[in-house]
Symmetry: C2
């Protein structure tokens, strides 16, 4: 089975803390960031806003160490089990998912 990248050559990557099971973040990978992640053991993404490869932690120091990658049944989503060396979120939160939906204006 081949991985299915979208029309922009990207695949969503969900990051889960291997020890706690907490979902830390979701970002996007292209084939090159996946290759670098597997090769180096440190999670790399593709930044859609900056249009560049992005080694998680390259500025913050909060690296994500890869433990396992799984694909879903359609092979169009990845789930990465990691060990996080620090907060995954740029806000300093451990996980990016710290906002309950009630706090968000859905209008």
């Amino acid at each position: 089975m081949d991985l299915k990248y979208n029309e922009r050559g990207l695949i969503p990557a969900i990051v889960q803390d291997e020890a706690s099971g907490e979902v830390l973040m979701m970002a996007w990978m292209n084939a090159e960031s996946l290759r670098l992640t597997q090769q180096t053991g440190e999670v790399h993404f593709w930044s859609r806003s900056r249009q560049e490869l992005w080694r998680k932690g390259e500025t913050s120091g909060n690296v994500l160490y890869l433990r396992q990658i799984r694909a879903d049944c359609d092979a169009d989503v990845l789930l990465l089990q990691v060990e996080a060396s620090g907060p995954a979120c740029h806000t300093g939160a451990r996980s990016c998912f710290f906002q309950e939906l009630e706090d968000i204006d859905e209008a």
Copy 2:
């Protein structure tokens, strides 16, 4: 903060089993499926392949009961905590993420 839907009006929704912490699946929601999910307490998605609203379990009976919704720091990804009434995957697996990446041809 407003939720940020993509150019097709969709937002990725990661589904996690509230009790076990297992990540079960990822699918896409539009504003209407989110509204129905909150209103009924049963998770609804938008099927990109069928281009229609999709109440998870409507054919399989394996409904996902909503417990909590969180958004990430950018408000462009949702994380749903659920109670699953059966296997989340159409293959009969509890989670869609049953394939380690080594099993997938990345060429």
